[in-house]
């Protein structure tokens, strides 16, 4: 009797859920369908979905044929392994929005389409590239091995680009106005060079209030603003194309020593990079870190505090930053790669990007749209990022970048900061490891 009840209950549940489930749409009605996986937040998703509908309408009006764009939100976390499983089982989407650091992995794994080989690409890599913000476009161009030689192809279209800049808490600057003035520093603006930065940070570090001048993350990507402003880079390329690790070059070591001194000698950095510590964003939000480096995605989150945004302080090589953001790629399993590209081309075009930027306050990836927004946003916080992007340089991607970061570079950065070895020694070892274990994968090919 009781068994019967349990079984009936289970059957009823299964039936109920099956009934409210929707069948996966197929193309049995002959309409070409493009499935898009994206990782936008709720607000971005809404606008993106609306724009997809617009594209459907425009396409219908222009060609008389109906297309369908299925926009599906997927969690950002675990997306890359998920894409791999999807590829294995042939359930990959036509288009997926991916972090710009993943494009190389996808390209090497022959997972995504070389967009420049599509019939409707419309020009050379350079010609098409001239319509995009260079830093954003560059993250999509990958050199891949084909029949014993290396060829350059375009594997994605940028959909979002950003970089970090210096956020400074005006309230904390104001509270220390007298002390700053005493040091000959202007409390109403942010530091413009690293030297000035240290002087500001010293005044703004007040141990008894647990207030620090600066808080930072300590991974390779977050070190890029330092490396770039010191004129260093992650990899050096010899004339014959051989890549070597650049982190043990004098310029890179100068940058690393500077970072270490912020934490160890000047004691102006909060140790925000440590596991379990209050991270820079949280510390900035709580008014404990007077300055941090972060990106435009935090502009809204910080709206509760009085802050300003300034260019990354200049080093020997001037101001510069890293490049973040995401790209849209087309999977090789797509039945309609040309249609998928057409949509991406439309979405990254001038009109769509102006709208995207206007509705969400984000940086356009289209060059013309970028210049327009740069003019109208001049003087605003967003404008600073547009300005910063002109000098930003992306981190050169190499295979197994995640392992290089997790297992080699990030531990070396952490140990230098903790004083368990000098940057010279630690990055010397790290570079040897990177050259032998990782860069050899492409150098030997």
């Amino acid at each position: 009797m009781r068994h019967a009840t349990v079984i009936a209950l289970v059957v009823a549940l299964v039936a109920a859920v099956q009934a409210c489930g929707v069948r996966r749409a197929d193309e049995s009605d002959g309409v070409r369908t493009i499935t898009i996986w994206e990782t936008y937040n709720a607000q971005e998703h809404e606008i993106f979905d609306a724009m997809a509908r617009d594209f459907e309408r425009e396409y219908q009006a222009r060609t008389g044929t109906t297309v369908r764009l299925k926009v599906q939100r997927v969690p950002y976390e675990g997306l890359l392994p998920k894409l791999k499983y999807a590829a294995i089982t042939d359930t990959a989407p036509d288009i997926c929005r991916v972090d710009n650091a993943w494009v190389l992995t996808l390209a090497y794994g022959k997972a995504v389409v070389e967009l420049d080989t599509l019939p409707n690409f419309g020009g050379t890599l350079q010609e098409v590239g001239s319509h995009y913000v260079p830093a954003a476009y560059a993250t999509n161009v990958v050199t891949v091995p084909e029949n014993k030689q290396w060829n350059e192809h375009l594997f994605g279209v940028p959909d979002q680009t950003n970089c970090v800049a210096l956020f400074w808490n005006k309230g904390l600057f104001n509270e220390s106005a007298a002390a700053l003035k005493k040091q000959g520093l202007d409390p109403t603006r942010a530091p413009k060079t690293w030297d000035e930065f240290v002087r500001y940070a010293r005044v703004l570090t007040i141990p008894e209030r647990k207030q620090y001048g600066f808080g930072m993350f300590a991974t390779l990507w977050w070190m890029m603003p330092f490396l770039n402003t010191f004129g260093a880079s992650f990899t050096d390329q010899a004339p014959d194309g051989t890549l070597t690790c650049g982190l043990s070059d004098p310029k890179a070591l100068a940058a690393m020593n500077f970072i270490v001194s912020l934490y160890r000698q000047d004691k102006v950095e909060a140790g925000a990079w440590q596991t379990g510590a209050i991270n820079p964003e949280q510390g900035f939000l709580n008014g404990k870190y007077a300055m941090i480096l972060t990106g435009p995605w935090n502009l809204k989150r910080f709206s509760g505090i009085d802050f300003g945004v300034a260019l990354v302080p200049a080093g020997p090589a001037g101001t510069s930053s890293n490049v973040g953001g995401s790209n849209m790629v087309v999977f090789k399993s797509s039945a309609h790669p040309d249609l998928a590209y057409e949509f991406l081309h439309w979405f990254s075009g001038h009109d769509a990007q102006i709208r995207w930027s206007h509705d969400l306050g984000q940086i356009p990836v289209n060059r013309e749209a970028f210049e327009e927004v740069a003019q109208s946003a001049a003087g605003t916080n967003l404008g600073v990022f547009l300005e910063q992007l002109r000098t930003a340089r992306p981190l050169k991607q190499v295979p197994k970048m995640d392992q290089i970061e997790d297992r080699v570079v990030n531990p070396a950065i952490e140990l230098s900061l903790k004083g368990q070895g000098t940057p010279e020694q630690l990055f010397g070892d790290a570079c040897a490891k990177i050259n032998n274990d990782f860069l050899s994968i492409i150098n030997d090919r």
Binding site: P81, L83, K84, A87, I88, D90, T105, L106, Y108, G109, K110, A111, P145, K210, F217, A218, T219, W222, G271, W273, Q274, T275, G276, A277, I278, N279, N286, K288, K332, S333, P399, K400, D402, Q403, D406, R407, N410, P411, A412, E414, L415, K418, Q420, G421, L426, D429, I441, R445
Partner: protein
């Protein structure tokens, strides 16, 4: 006659076993064998995603040899797993036992306590880990606020999770609190089986409260202890969710890092987490090889354990 009956017995027994064995062979047995096959292959960065298993390269024993002879991190992760198990398993058993002893006392609200102590066991490890990260966080976390009140500011710089000495114990502590209730229920169940007369006899012999527990209760709950050790061991070897939740941010995987033997190693990068990272990075061949090495370790430790704790008269 006897053989006929035996044959029938055997048939019946296998009939009862069949559904389980079928599911086991398909979903566990075959994957194990397939992983063994994978462990002799390697997936390179150029392996096509759409044909990963067809496009793998034969690697021979290189996955195994590189782990055993050329990977300091692997050995270090085993050592950290050992430390983690040592921190977690005894504490969990002792705490579970003590709670069970407390629950045996006729205290007011006993039912509430029993339920409340067990409740965290059903929570998601990831959620619990995340919450503890906040409790442990320096300067603003509950723990550091409390320590500061007592005048201890040693952890304010890094937080307990950022300190190489305290990171792993802190994780173990969080997990012990979560799972102590489970041990408590098991002990409670075993203790309820002990006849009251045994305790009364001990009382007559003039045993104190703790003497009674030690001489009467402990020997009788030995199977539970063995059981908890084995499950704890599996927990330690498979531990990755708690590490993932507590010391693996986007910015640091398994830190804090220390310098050991000329290598930088993460003190919370236990072997389960190392395996998870290898697996996540799509290095399935290497991950499979690592799993089999871990299996050997687990087998050895369990056999040693079972031998050590087996009652002498068997």
């Amino acid at each position: 006659m006897a053989t006929v009956r035996n044959k029938r017995e055997t048939l019946i027994a296998y009939a009862y076993l069949a559904p389980f064995l079928l599911a086991f062979v398909v979903f566990l047995g075959y994957p194990i064998l397939y992983s063994l096959y994978l462990s002799f292959h390697t997936i390179t960065v150029f392996t096509s995603w759409f044909d990963i298993f067809g496009d793998m390269e034969w690697a021979g024993l290189s996955n195994y040899t590189s782990l055993l002879f050329n990977d300091y991190e692997f050995w270090y992760s085993l050592y950290r797993t050992f430390v983690y198990g040592l921190l977690m398993i005894p504490t969990q058993i002792v705490l579970g036992f003590l709670l069970a002893v407390l629950m045996r006392e006729k205290l007011p609200w006993r039912g509430f306590f029993r339920g409340a102590l067990f409740l965290p066991h059903i929570l998601d490890v990831f959620v619990v880990g995340t919450i503890w990260v906040l409790i442990y966080s320096p300067n603003y976390g509950l723990l550091d606020v409390a320590l500061n009140r007592m005048g201890i500011t040693y952890f304010s710089g890094t937080g307990v999770l950022g300190n190489p000495w305290t990171a792993l114990p802190a994780i173990a502590f969080a997990l012990v609190l979560k799972s102590a209730g489970f041990g408590m229920i098991l002990f409670l169940a075993a203790m309820n089986n002990i006849p009251e007369s045994v305790y009364e006899a001990a009382d007559i012999d003039g045993c104190s409260f703790w003497q009674k527990q030690w001489h009467v209760t402990v020997p009788l709950v030995k199977p539970i202890v063995l059981f908890l050790i084995i499950t704890g061991l599996m927990g330690a070897l498979n531990a990755f969710t708690e590490i993932y939740a507590m010391t693996a941010t986007k910015y640091s995987q398994g830190g804090p890092f220390i310098e050991s033997g000329g290598h930088s190693v993460g003190v919370t990068k236990v072997s389960g987490f190392y395996l998870y990272k290898t697996f996540e990075q799509g290095d399935y061949g290497r991950a499979a090889a690592m799993s089999f090495l871990l299996l050997i370790v687990a087998l050895v430790v369990s056999v040693v354990n079972a031998r050590a704790l087996r009652p002498k008269d068997v």
